[in-house]
């Protein structure tokens, strides 16, 4: 019996959507991704040179914002009904709609390249990235519809509504890429798509390795804490925090003391 990656994803995804607590968390995490994408694309729209691309990007950004609101709203409904409190960062998302300060736009949010690289990418490669990201998003949301249909119709309806917009996002990015191909830039378009696919695979690899890297790092640090840090810890436990007004003792700051106004 062979198990494909798609089959594995369907299996795991189904289990994730079954758990009501995880469902709220996932919806909030999707909302955060969409909000991040909206900010990213709105900034790209502000920079876009071509009016046509700017209009598409503005609509795209508005769609992403609407998706974020839909997903957050559905998470709120599930939260209210089941009192399935989301944990960690998710809890902060319920009352607000912005991107949390510690959000990593580069890998978890829109696309698979750091948004700060938008300018150096240029329009063609940015649109190629959007096209591939939207194709992937469409496939993901189709899977989510499959998992939630019949079990949680309201959530499935939210995903279906998002899917309709994804069709438009794919259509306009594809049309732009075709337009550039017809203008004699076919080789550039193909190279951009190749490069972006590579970047996507690289990002996926980093995503896979990230948890392994983090876990092994934590284990090493825990060992350091229990061995090298142990004597300091035992000494530290004997000490007490100073209370009340304490004298301000500062070592002489040579850098500031030697400072002279510029000539």
């Amino acid at each position: 019996m062979t198990i494909s990656i798609g089959g594995l994803r369907r299996l795991v995804g189904g289990a994730l959507w079954r758990n009501p607590r995880r469902r709220v968390q996932r919806l909030l995490s999707f909302a955060r991704t969409e909000a991040g994408g909206a900010a990213d694309i709105a900034a790209a729209a502000a920079d876009a040179d071509s009016p046509e691309l700017r209009q598409h990007l503005q609509r795209h950004a508005a769609d992403e914002r609407r998706h974020a609101a839909l997903l957050r709203g559905r998470a709120q409904q599930l939260f209210d009904v089941g009192n399935t409190a989301p944990t960690s960062a998710g809890a902060d998302l319920l009352p607000s709609s912005g991107i949390p300060a510690d959000a990593e736009l580069s890998l978890t949010d829109h696309g698979f390249l750091p948004s700060a690289r938008r300018r150096e990418l240029g329009e063609l490669r940015y649109v190629a990235m959007l096209y591939l990201a939207e194709c992937q998003a469409k496939a993901d949301f189709e899977l989510h519809v499959l998992h939630t249909a019949g079990r949680d119709e309201a959530t499935a309806a939210v995903f279906r509504s998002i899917l309709r917009d994804e069709e438009y996002h794919i259509a306009y990015t594809r049309a732009l890429l075709r337009g550039w191909e017809q203008q004699g830039r076919a080789r550039e378009v193909r190279a951009a798509l190749r490069e972006m696919r590579r970047a996507r695979r690289h990002a996926a690899l980093l995503r896979c390795l990230g948890p392994i890297n983090r876990t092994s790092g934590r284990i090493v640090l825990a060992v350091v804490y229990a061995t090298l840090f142990l004597p300091f810890g035992l000494l530290g436990r004997l000490g007490r925090h100073g209370r009340g007004w304490l004298a301000v003792r500062r070592a002489g700051d040579d850098a500031l003391a030697a400072l002279e106004p510029p000539a």
Binding site: A42, Q58, A62, S96, S97, A101, A222, Y225, H241, R243
Partner: protein
């Protein structure tokens, strides 16, 4: 001489100080569009340099408002004292610190392409004390800083003396980590499940619905020590990942966290969150006033300058301003990282180098021009000042919500009229619409914009300067309270800000049209939880989403074609 100040790892900010004046100050979140962006403020610094007519390479010095090594030592001390319970903190903090925060000088020099010898570091309490002093008119004064945690100091007593044009700043005494009044606010925000972004203002608004019945009960959280000092009873707090939460013992005092399926004003929560907040605010006011009294005894100064993040709560700031035992009290207009950035640069310029100080003013360039293509469904027209004011006044008098953007967003947590949404405070429907636009909690009322003369009537001399900058809440006179019921908190207070320039004209134009007082309800031009609007495209996008009918962007009006035609543009 050009100096830049920066502060990061909170609401990262940067400013440029040119020959004693402050031509520009900005927050990184404006450019990154991440609320409360803690990153090194590279884009904010670049923007400030441009606004000040300089290049990054022209900076004589860049001053960072924190000494990373001192902070790291403090964190290691905390980890050692809490052994073995601090394992999760250790595992989380060490990669961050050993990654790049400990080597901040190298990181800054590489990222900003500045020679390392031009980078200086100043402790955060010194920066906070400097911004409190140099943003006030005082030459010699006592300075009280009640701040969040950074290096060691949390509450600092300082004194400034100016002799022969040279200012000396002496740090007299400090309460050290972990005894931070800030932790009480932080634990309360977490307890009430309020977002930390701008959360202190939310606390102030919630406190207005409560009373001080739990004040005595909360006394054990922050015992009063001799000579006006204070200490946290650490058994009631849990310090995790640098943030304070109530421990199990703390929950026995403050009660279980409220059920957020109901609103915070819902009566089903016991104790009432509003009572808890107001009682905690009173506790903090008492501790700060005790520290102020100790400072007065030590310095015999007549003037007091206040600064620090704890005073971002406008009710608390108003109480301290009114009751501090000094003849004159001034509150720093910038109290978070923006204040630290300013203070760090000002300290080096005026205290270390002895440069003459200029008048403090928060200046900003006008917003960038609006390209015609950015408008999309709405239309835009360039219009003179009179036309803009008339169009905005007509919309406001008709009960609509409008957006008014005069320059870059405010570096302060609260709007001061640069980039705001406006509505008629006497029109309930307009205020309801404004609140819907903001998507904020129902207990957070909009601020009130008034012309200077009018709001001076409401405020005592002590609170006036702070109140006019929206930093302290003031009590509305009884005669107006019923009329302004939509924006006045249950305790009869509002947050006031003084209108200047075209906004003052707009106030009078609206008052002339609808016969009401020259007041407008105001809120910053963004949605709750979203960073401020900076680009033209964002402004127009928010206009579409918000239901505001008119946007005044610099000298441009943006609205529907029919409205612009009616406005005579």
């Amino acid at each position: 001489m050009i100096l830049a100040g920066t502060a990061a790892f909170g609401r990262s900010s940067a400013c440029v100080l040119r020959d004693g004046a402050l031509p520009a100050i900005a927050c990184e979140e404006w450019f990154s569009q991440r609320k409360d962006d803690p990153a090194i403020p590279e884009q904010a610094l670049a923007w400030c340099c441009t606004a000040a007519g300089a290049r990054l390479q022209d900076l004589d010095w860049l001053v960072f408002a924190e000494k990373p090594v001192q902070r790291f030592i403090r964190i290691l001390g905390h980890l050692a004292r809490g052994f073995p319970c601090t394992l999760p903190d250790f595992v989380r903090a060490l990669p961050i610190w050993l990654g790049d925060r400990l080597w901040l000088k190298t990181t800054l020099a590489a990222r900003l392409r500045l020679p390392p010898e031009r980078l200086l570091f100043v402790e955060r309490p010194v920066a906070q004390a400097a911004t409190a002093l140099f943003s006030s008119p005082c030459r010699s004064a006592a300075i009280l800083v009640v701040d969040a945690t950074s290096e060691w100091a949390t509450t600092t007593l300082a004194e400034a003396r100016t002799d022969g044009g040279r200012t000396r700043l002496s740090m007299l005494a400090e309460v050290q980590y972990p005894h931070a009044l800030w932790f009480v606010q932080e634990a309360l925000l977490h307890h009430l499940q309020l977002p930390e972004a701008g959360g202190v203002r939310w606390l102030a608004a919630l406190g207005a619905h409560g009373d001080e019945r739990l004040r005595q009960q909360l006394e054990v959280l922050v015992p009063h020590l001799a000579d006006g000092a204070h200490a946290l009873d650490l058994r009631h707090f849990r310090l995790r990942h640098g943030r304070a939460r109530f421990s199990r013992r703390g929950h026995a005092i403050v009660g279980a966290p409220p059920d957020r399926r109901h609103g915070l004003l819902d009566g089903s929560n016991a104790p009432r969150p509003a009572d808890l907040v107001r009682s905690a605010q009173r506790l903090l006011v008492d501790r700060i006033l005790a520290a102020a009294e100790a400072l007065r005894r030590r310095t015999n100064a007549r003037q007091l300058c206040l600064g620090g993040a704890v005073l971002q709560d406008p009710w608390l700031a108003g109480e301290v301003l009114a009751r501090a035992p000094f003849d004159e009290v001034h509150l720093a207009p910038l109290q978070d990282e923006a204040g630290c950035a300013h203070g760090a640069a000002a300290y080096v310029a005026h205290v270390v180098l002895g440069q003459p100080r200029g008048d403090f003013a928060l200046l900003a360039p006008p917003p960038p021009p609006l390209p015609a293509a950015a408008a999309g469904e709405v239309e835009l027209r360039h219009a003179g000042r009179a036309t803009r004011v008339a169009a905005a006044a007509a919309a406001l008098a008709a009960g609509e919500v409008i957006a008014w953007v005069e320059s870059a967003p405010e570096p302060t947590l609260r709007p001061i009229g640069r980039s705001v949404l406006l509505a008629d405070p006497c029109a309930a429907a307009a205020i309801a619409r404004l609140q819907r636009v903001k998507l904020s909690e129902p207990f957070v009322p909009p601020m009130l914009l008034a012309d200077q003369g009018f709001c001076s009537l409401w405020t005592d001399a002590r609170r006036r300067a702070a109140a006019l900058g929206g930093l302290a809440s003031v009590t509305v006179p009884d005669a107006l309270r019923a009329r302004l019921g939509n924006v006045v908190a249950p305790d009869g207070t509002v947050l006031l800000a003084a209108a200047r320039g075209p906004l003052a004209e707009l106030l009078h134009a609206v008052a002339a049209r609808n016969g009401g007082p020259p007041l407008l309800a105001m809120s910053s031009y963004n949605r709750a939880g979203e960073p401020p609007v900076v680009h033209a495209a964002q402004a127009i996008d928010l206009l579409r989403r918000s239901g505001a009918t008119l946007l005044c962007w610099g000298d441009t009006l943006v609205s529907s074609a029919s409205r612009l035609a009616a406005a005579g543009t």
